[in-house]
């Protein structure tokens, strides 16, 4: 019955697979790119922008993959991992590391935090199978607000980070100048005209993406996919489902920690306090826009999704502004990304048990 598929059928099927919302978003981005030169926006700058923003955000989106694979759903608890990254970043500076070394140290220091917090988080998620996404959201929020107190209370002293007047308590924004600003982006940066490509960051992303891809091809990675695909099957095949889920959560958390450090080195600042709040939803919608569903995601989804999402975010303000002198980027971004998440949630997927 499957042999005589006409070309048309296949196109229709693949379009259906692609999903209408995704089609609209892709079409919209293409439209924006086509329009850009006509309304006087500089296309190379725009493309350069997209590439840069891709390089900042890619790993945060990548952090979704392990948990989606193990059936824990979309990682709305991303802020937890981000906090580990922030702890690594601030401690690395506090200990007096500078330059590229501070980046490396930040990663090293963030790792144990990510492992511990990730394990706790994984343990919790194993207790509440089926309700992961909602609880993940609020675990993220609680941890961010808890850390708000901690940023004030922890005995940080580095004058570059604490409030000048009080001499204690971290600032909301900490400049990375002299620390790891552009630590990765600066490596082998290519500048052609208006386009600048942060080769180092892209390579770093590629490295991690390759790592995840490779992991998913190992025995354990295969088990993770199976757990996400059908946990009962996996259990019947002797897999310790809880352990695999825990591993995926720890991986997601660690990736989020690295992700925020990479983001910061591109952005040039550490943002503390309520800043991590905003981080989970864009990452979630990016991977969904890239074609992932609540329980399936690939590296390709990450790359496509991040490009589409960041493309829209960077293109709308310029094109719109030049065209109708109205900056609707924020509103369109919210509607598009939230609409995408809503769409994914209402899909009939086999709910993970």
């Amino acid at each position: 019955m499957t042999e005589t598929k006409t070309f048309k059928d296949r196109v229709v099927a693949s379009l259906k697979n692609f999903g209408l919302p995704r089609l609209i978003i892709t079409g919209f981005l293409v439209l924006l790119l086509v329009l850009a030169p006509f309304v006087g926006a500089d296309l190379p700058t725009q493309i350069s922008n997209i590439i840069n923003r891709f390089s900042w955000n890619g790993i945060l989106v990548l952090a979704m993959v392990p948990m989606v694979h193990s059936g824990c759903g979309l990682n709305f608890g991303l802020p937890l991992g981000i906090i580990s990254g922030l702890l690594g970043a601030t401690l690395s500076i506090e200990f007096g590391f500078t330059g590229r070394l501070s980046f490396l140290m930040a990663i090293l220091i963030a790792t144990p935090f990510a492992l511990v917090l990730g394990s706790l988080y994984g343990w919790l998620l194993n207790k509440i199978k089926g309700g992961e996404m909602m609880i993940a959201t609020y675990v993220g929020f609680s941890s961010v607000s808890l850390m708000c107190m901690m940023w004030l209370l922890l005995p940080y002293h580095s004058p570059n980070m604490v409030w000048g007047l009080a001499g204690k308590g971290l600032r909301t924004t900490i400049s990375l100048e002299g620390y790891y600003n552009q630590a990765l982006a600066g490596i082998g940066q290519i500048n052609i005209g208006n386009i600048s490509i942060p080769t180092g960051t892209l390579l770093f992303f590629a490295l991690l993406a390759f790592g995840i891809w490779a992991f998913l091809h190992t025995k354990t990675g295969t088990a993770m996919t199976a757990v996400g695909s059908n946990p009962v099957f996996a259990r019947a095949a002797g897999i310790d489902v809880d352990k695999i889920r825990m591993l995926s959560v720890v991986m997601s958390t660690w990736l989020a920690a690295i992700g925020i450090l990479v983001y910061e080195q591109g952005f040039g600042f550490i943002q503390l306090y309520m800043a991590p709040f905003y981080m989970a939803l864009p990452a979630v919608s990016a991977i969904l826009i890239g074609g992932a569903s609540v329980n399936k995601a690939t590296i390709m989804n990450v790359i496509i999704g991040t490009i589409l999402f960041q493309g829209i975010v960077t293109m709308i303000p310029t094109v719109m502004n030049n065209m109708i002198h109205m900056d609707m980027s924020e509103v369109i971004r919210i509607i598009a990304s939230m609409g995408m998440i809503l769409f994914a949630l209402t899909r009939k997927t086999e709910a993970s048990r």
Binding site: G130, M134, I135, C148, M149, M326, V331, I335, I341
Partner: protein, 387 residues
Amino acid sequence: MKAGSNKYTTSEKKPTAFGTILRQASVPLMFIIICAFCIPIAGLSPSYLANEIVTRMGRNSFLILSLLIPIMAGMGLNFGMTLGAMAGEIGLILVSDWQIVGIPGMVLAAIISVPISILLGIFCGKILNKAKGREMITSYIMSFFINGIYQLVVLYLMGSVIPIKHSSIKLPRGYGIRNTVSLLNMRQKLDNLIAINVSGIKIPVMTFIVIGILCLFIIWFRKTKLGQDMRAVGQDMEVARDAGIDVERTRIISIVMSTVLAGIGMIIYLQNMGNIATYSSHSQIGMFCIAALLVGGASVDRASIGNVFLGVILFHTMFIVAPRAGAYITGDSMIGEYFRVFVSYAVITLALVMYETNKRRAKSESSRELRAQQDADEANAAGKENV
């Protein structure tokens, strides 16, 4: 109410009753302890504290009561109540542009908000019907999505498509609404309509009467056919469907009712505040109301009117005293601010975790029974052998 609420909530088995009660009461107890600890440290005068609590009760109770109906219908905590709040705000913005003031202004805003709430509620309900089993996260995302639409309307369409006359609420660029819209001519008009002063504490009697009417409505509603259907749907959708109840429609109605009530609640809330933070008033409101309800001892699948009032009192006492107490202990006023934010989120997290683990606990109960039966069997068999 007490008797009524007990009668209609699921009963507990006797052996575990005490444990269950303790578990249910654990959150309120924790808050009583926090408050008892913070109040003396904060050093606020009792009359100030009482005044604040009474004001906040009047301000928030109506909004929180709007959460009860979806819980009854088994749809969990309605994070989508924000939708109603936005409808209420749109009503108020229009009314204040038309310069309708005071109580008539509030009534008119409510009348305008209702159809908007109904439309949003139907939309939300339909989406939630497609996402059964993950209503909460969906309604939560829904609140963001509609917030985007709301911004589109308020920031771009008002003034350009929807006529807005007064420059006092319009952005200088000619369209869009300012960040704050003053409701000075509506401020506390409802509260002050019948206000009495009991030893320095101002009691907004009229507001309480309105809240009381809503409570009576909810009690009455539970006795209606629709209320009965909602409770049936909330407990077992399949059984309800087999009995011929239109499950989908019932769920949508429960969300619509919640949204409409939230819209009116928002108007009451804002008349007390005296101004609208156009783009942020609603974004926090859902979270605070849910936290307050949970603090009152409600859970995801069970909530009563008593929970609402206990929750308002405890949650807001914490809210008032925490910053002062935090400042006193650590010398930094922000600590207390962050602390109360943290507590709000932590309470919701805790309630969600408890709800999910309880669901699983119920499952493992049956195998324990089986094991006991087996043991009994064996004892029997052994007994026979001995004879």
